[in-house]
């Protein structure tokens, strides 16, 4: 199965893959809207100048978070994301079956089921799983969030991060 591989010697630490990921998983597919008008996020949670909560944004769909993460330091940088393992530890660890394999072998998440127990996060060998604190399924747990990892952009042939990378530092291939 094709997954996204980083090419370290080409990555220039621009983080455009993160922006593309957020935009791709937003409703509008427009960077400005994705960051500002699609619900609560660091950018829209308060107005830049007044520092007051932005009520107009409160009811909307939460802003998507980036599913790839650029690790960088001392001129070494690379974009990391989910490896979609064959016998994935996260799927084994998931207690209510919200993580599953699709027909191609991708590890995907049923967003409605996840309760935020974080066993997958503990189990993942690659640290590719993160919390999406903007969404929650268990109302009693504040800021618990749900599981969050690369879904290889199901609506596209090639993931958005691979398309946007200015130096071809991401390879979408079957190795």
């Amino acid at each position: 199965m094709k997954i996204v591989y980083p090419v370290e010697e080409r990555c220039i630490d621009c983080h455009l893959c993160e922006v593309a990921c957020i935009v791709e998983h937003s409703e509008s597919k427009n960077p400005v809207d994705a960051y500002f008008s699609e619900g609560l996020s660091f950018n829209s949670i308060r107005s830049s100048y007044t520092h007051e909560p932005n009520q107009a944004m409160a009811d909307k769909r939460p802003m998507p978070l980036n599913r790839c993460l650029v690790e960088f330091g001392n001129s070494v940088s690379l974009s990391t994301n989910c490896r979609h393992c064959e016998n994935a530890s996260c799927v084994l660890a998931c207690k209510n079956g919200s993580l599953y394999y699709d027909h191609e072998g991708r590890v995907l998440l049923n967003e409605k089921k996840c309760v935020g127990c974080w066993m997958c996060l503990m189990a993942c060998e690659y640290g590719a799983i993160s919390r999406n604190a903007n969404m929650k399924n268990v109302p009693s747990l504040e800021n618990n969030g749900i599981q969050h990892h690369c879904d290889l952009c199901p609506e596209r042939e090639e993931p958005a991060c691979v398309m946007v990378c200015p130096t071809n530092a991401l390879a979408f291939e079957d190795r």
Binding site: R10, I12, H15, V19, V32, S75, T167
Partner: protein
């Protein structure tokens, strides 16, 4: 991501903090203004990460990205990379009252010098408003009396042999075919375009590798500059012209033998008469190894070659190199175009050079004092025309090929240069433009945001080798096609027929003395 990391400009990558001294004037003014549409800015911080000049920083408390406009050099990196295109760099009106005599260049240099007492450095080539003769020459085309040629349907010969040619080829010689003994070593370029000398150190290794690969792909040559031949480039040795400059960095017999041709650099168009200077902090392990100097030591080329104080001395060096390469490779001598260049060139040919490179005053540099870059040297068009004419008059034009360099901007310039008498041209700035250069003239700072003239590890990565290769090769391919079209419309099917063929050129808006210098006729005649 620690947001505090981005709070302070200058802290990133542990750069040395150059805070303006109290009383510094220059920092109060800025040439450009970075205008940001705050509504569209999504705070992705790409501009902050991409700017190597500490012009942009993020204030996490206010959640706003700010700019220090005085640091902006108009390199356009942030403008290009911004995903929402919310950045625009403008010429700022932060200048003095309009003044035809004292413009930004003058007063900014005075402020800088009054602040520091130093020489104002810059990169790239002469950017002053001197007359461009290329722009005042036009080309001929075939009409009724002679037919033009369609290069798509008929063969078009661009192959160029560079080096000394025999005095006379008799029919007996030709009958012997390959067995002619008196042929001198020549290099064969499939197109008359060669990449200009740019040393590893001045440019990144990635870019040099890209040039080497593109040269191999297109059947032409690249030039190592004075920085030696990196071990990774050994496999491109058949496409390398290796340079022997006054610093003699990395020069030994193996270096000279690993080449297609050897070049003695006497002068550079951007800074005739002065040597190069690569500061010690830029001399990394790889550069030190290639240049054969201690890591971190200043790589200073002296102004003259200290063993060449006359034409006779030049002859000694040329023949020393010829001995070293066993007379198998042509030896070239590169000089800057200056006054009396034709007499100098004549001396060089008589000293035994197989190729003369003339570098005009628009030629680029990695670092040069601004005053020298802008005010020393003469235009390549005039120098080329005069040298070609002088060598023809003296009957020694066959003893050396002429390569023109310095400000070749496109295929039209190449065709005009060849019609004026050049055998081939060097292109440097055009190759840099092909890989993203925005002519910001900050090459001397070693922080090129496009990864071209830098050796900082994180910036070098911005220009991958295969991207450089593809784009440089594409440029040469495009120019090749254009040159073929232009030859075709002139009714020529070989670049040899155009060489020195000044009948194909006419001058527009030039005075009589200028036309005479260039050896061309007025348009209409």
């Amino acid at each position: 991501m620690t947001q505090k990391f981005y709070l302070e400009p200058n802290v990133r990558n542990n750069l040395h903090i150059n805070k303006p001294k109290q009383g510094d004037f220059f920092h109060n003014y800025s040439e450009y203004k970075v205008e940001r549409e705050n509504d569209k800015c999504i705070r992705c911080l790409i501009c902050v990460r991409q700017c190597p000049y500490d012009c942009t920083y993020f204030d996490s408390g206010r959640n706003v990205i700010y700019n220090i406009h005085a640091n902006c050099v108009n390199c356009k990196r942030c403008e290009v990379m911004c995903p929402t295109k919310c950045i625009e760099i403008r010429d700022w009106g932060n200048k003095f009252r309009d003044n035809a005599h004292w413009d930004y260049k003058h007063w900014s240099a005075i402020y800088k010098q009054a602040d520091t007492g130093g020489i104002v450095l810059t990169g790239l080539g002469n950017d002053e408003h001197y007359k461009s003769y290329f722009d005042r020459m036009v080309l001929d085309a075939s009409q009724v009396t002679n037919p033009s040629i369609d290069p798509l349907r008929e063969p078009m010969e661009l192959r160029t042999f560079i080096g000394r040619k025999p005095e006379l080829l008799t029919s007996e010689d030709i009958a012997q075919g390959d067995k002619i003994k008196e042929l001198y070593p020549n290099i064969t370029a499939e197109i008359p375009i060669i990449f200009a000398p740019m040393s590893f150190g001045a440019i990144s290794l990635n870019f040099q590798k890209g040039l080497a690969r593109a040269a191999k792909k297109m059947g032409t040559y690249f030039n190592t500059g004075e920085g030696g031949l990196h071990s990774d480039l050994l496999k491109f040795k058949d496409h390398a012209i290796v340079q022997v400059a006054s610093g003699r960095f990395g020069v030994n017999q193996t270096y000279l033998k690993n080449s297609a041709a050897c070049e003695i650099k006497i002068g550079q168009g951007a800074k005739p008469g002065i040597g190069g200077h690569l500061p010690g902090e830029k001399v990394t392990y790889d550069i030190a190894l290639t240049r054969m100097i201690p890591e971190g030591s200043d790589a200073i080329s002296p102004a003259p070659q200290h063993d060449i104080y006359s034409i006779e001395d030049l002859r000694l060096l040329i023949y020393a190199i010829k001995e070293a390469v066993e007379y198998k490779k042509p030896v070239s001598v590169k000089i800057a175009a200056v006054h009396n260049v034709s007499a100098i060139a004549s001396g060089i040919v008589r000293a035994g050079a197989d190729i003369i490179v003339l570098d005009g005053f628009r030629g680029g540099t990695g670092a040069a004092p601004r005053v020298i870059r802008d005010h020393v040297g003469i235009p390549i068009e005039a120098a080329l025309a005069q040298v070609d004419e002088r060598l023809r008059k003296e009957g020694i034009r066959n003893q050396a090929s002429i390569i023109a360099a310095g400000g070749i901007r496109g295929s039209a310039d190449i065709v005009k240069a060849i019609a004026l008498g050049a055998d081939a041209v060097y292109v440097g700035t055009s190759a840099m433009l092909a890989v993203g250069c925005t002519l910001c003239q900050q090459c001397h700072r070693g922080k090129c945001p496009w990864g071209i003239t830098t050796n900082r590890a994180d910036l070098v990565k911005r220009l991958p080798v295969d991207v450089a290769e593809e784009r440089c090769a594409n440029l040469l391919m495009g120019w090749t096609r254009e040159i073929k079209e232009m030859l075709g419309l002139m009714g020529l099917n070989s670049i040899e027929s155009l060489r020195g063929n000044r009948l194909k050129l006419r001058g527009v808006g030039l005075s009589e003395i200028e036309l005479k210098t260039l050896g061309i006729a007025q348009a209409g005649l």
